[in-house]
Symmetry: C2
Subunit: 348 residues, 2 copies
DNA sequence: TCCCGAAGTTCGATTTAAATG
DNA sequence: GCATTTAAATCGAACTTCGGG
């Protein structure tokens, strides 16, 4: 490996001067262009690349951000990760990706490993989180800039980026209602998920506003489960249950897209066609939704933008730390967007 | 930050002794249990965590593996990444994830960044690769253990893990043939993809073995494109074209699952039901395939196992380097598995 | 000679303080 | 005092060498 001393020897200057020149440090003003040229050429010639370990040791910086996901296999992650990656790339940071598998020990071990690596920031993708929220509290004391995506929280220590679930829930029902649907089945999210209740609040709000009465016989809940795929299976079973009980409904509002897929499957199995005999709307707009047959109408979370936003917040935090400024945590709530495709249809 | 010297002071021993004890170095045999206890307690009390920068600087090790993906949004990546993550975790390595977006400059920049970080190994997920293969040759000179997933290559410097495309292609056609299908449409992969030709070779081999004549009017090719989603759109358009030309076929063999999704969509749009009027088979078994309506019959690549396998190879390489052993690159070809679901049906 | 522990060097880059002309 | 350059200290851990008992 070629070191700064090799460059010094090759160029005929001291390693101090080489360092100053190559980093374009303040003192570089005093160094005559000839010297700079010579040093540059020497470095070039030798193919010198500074040792990041040594650099980090002095500067205490890693130019690395930790990314913690609770379950990678959730399709929700993909685009968020893309947003994170892309924004970090612009800023010349590199992400260390960890997948907690919704396991407590794994969370703790990974957090320790990341902290040991002196990550400068941390982004947590709490998409399908069934761990004690107290775990997240542990993060607070780590005192590194942290942003959580998909889990609302108060407080000054950690930032958060979430979609406005209430607005989204409202939009979903409003869409079905505007199409003339009145007998609507609902599959709500599991109690343990922070998204569930605001999303349902939005639905109720819309129902109230449009004087729609919700039939409690048509409301079912997703069970708790650590596995995001399970919402597909649960969506399937719950819908099947509804059908078997001969509940009449012309539309179904699912907690998320996976649930909607399960519901569509159940409907198809019973010979009910979507959207001809039953409209279905999901939530999230994960990648497969656009590819589904029929393409799924859903409420989109701007996932890539949310990833980018989280990185932005964390980067601001890092800069604040570097400049020894205090900075308050920011809590961003981004607007969802109704995406009308072909799984919903007007009753008229 | 608490350093080893703080622990030394606290425990009353020198930093040397502390280092020996905490690392359980060979010399630790000579150190009496009392001393060890005292040092351990001091470390515990102060919450000492060794500085990885300093450690890496001396040991020249980063305990980090670079992971390079050509397009994260390809659903193919998800499970492979899970396999990689999980296996690295067992071995206490951390992955740095980079997404090349199929862009040359990005590839080069990321590679440089990873090398600067002194990654100990590199895993390349060449799933939807439309860059010059020569780029990969650049990797050779990096001289760090490297494994490529999804792209066959010879040579001793880099290892590879691929699915046996020929066997897979064979199995796909064999399945359709065994169901009684004789008029079969084919959507082949783009020429630029290394998977395309062996997969097709398998198909032809099976056709020959079962004396099935392939109708060239029913064979179409996916265009080149950097975007993996494009195979959905192309699958849609190509199938639509086939239908518009009134080509008769009772089954369709798609290059991959995304293409199959596009084909199903086109069939549905023309009022053709799957599998009643046309069977469709894909390749890969990406996550959405099982959730599709109808659930897609496909040829599964054991993606998680392939990720794990690549990590295994790289880890072996790392150990070889540490022990200054020479080690030959390994080229693993794993068997695919036919997954029969509901998008294919017997003609009888 | 064996056991225990400490002093000092090394890894490679940055930075402070100081030395030249 | 000014422009130009550098010796030496520093970051934190690990390893080599050495000395005392």
């Amino acid at each position: 490996m070629v070191t700064i001393r090799d460059v010094a020897k090759e160029s005929g200057f001291s390693s101090t001067t080489v360092s100053i020149v190559l980093n374009d440090a303040p003192l570089a003003r005093y160094i005559p262009p000839v010297t700079k040229k010579r040093i540059m050429r020497a470095a070039q010639k030798l193919g010198y690349r500074p040792n990041q370990f040594a650099r980090s040791l002095r500067s205490k910086r890693s130019h690395t951000v930790g990314v913690m996901v609770f379950d990678m296999t959730d399709p929700y992650c993909t685009l968020v990760l893309r947003g994170i990656e892309n924004t970090l790339y612009q800023a010349s940071y590199l992400p260390i990706l960890t997948d907690v598998h919704n396991e407590r020990v794994r969370f703790e071990r990974y957090l320790e490993m990341l902290l040991d690596r002196r990550i400068e920031g941390l982004i947590v993708l709490a998409n399908w989180l069934f761990l004690d929220i107290n775990l997240l509290a542990d993060l607070e004391k780590s005192s590194i800039p942290t942003a959580i995506i998909g889990c609302e929280l108060k407080g000054d220590s950690m930032s958060s980026v979430i979609v406005d679930n209430e607005v989204g829930g409202y939009a979903a029902l409003e869409h079905l209602h505007s199409l003339g649907h009145r007998k609507i089945a609902f599959i709500r999210g599991p109690k343990g998920l922070t998204d569930s209740s605001p999303r349902w609040r939005g639905v109720r709000k819309c129902a109230k506003a449009s004087r729609l009465e919700l039939d409690t016989c048509l409301i079912v809940d997703l069970p708790e489960s650590r596995d995001p795929i399970s919402s597909f299976e649960a969506g399937f079973k719950l819908t099947e249950g509804l059908i078997k009980q001969k509940r009449q409904f012309t539309a179904l509002l699912a907690f998320d897209d996976m649930t909607a897929f399960g519901a569509i499957r159940a409907l198809a199995k019973s010979g009910l066609r979507v959207p001809e005999q039953c409209s279905v709307i999901g939530f999230d707009d994960v990648a497969p939704s656009a590819l589904y047959t029929p393409p799924l109408t859903t409420v989109r979370q701007p996932m890539e933008a949310m990833g980018a936003s989280a990185v932005g917040v964390v980067l601001d935090g890092i800069n604040a730390v570097l400049e020894k400024r205090e900075i308050a945590a920011s809590h961003r709530r981004v607007a969802p967007e109704l995406v009308v495709r072909e799984s919903t249809r007007s009753l008229l």
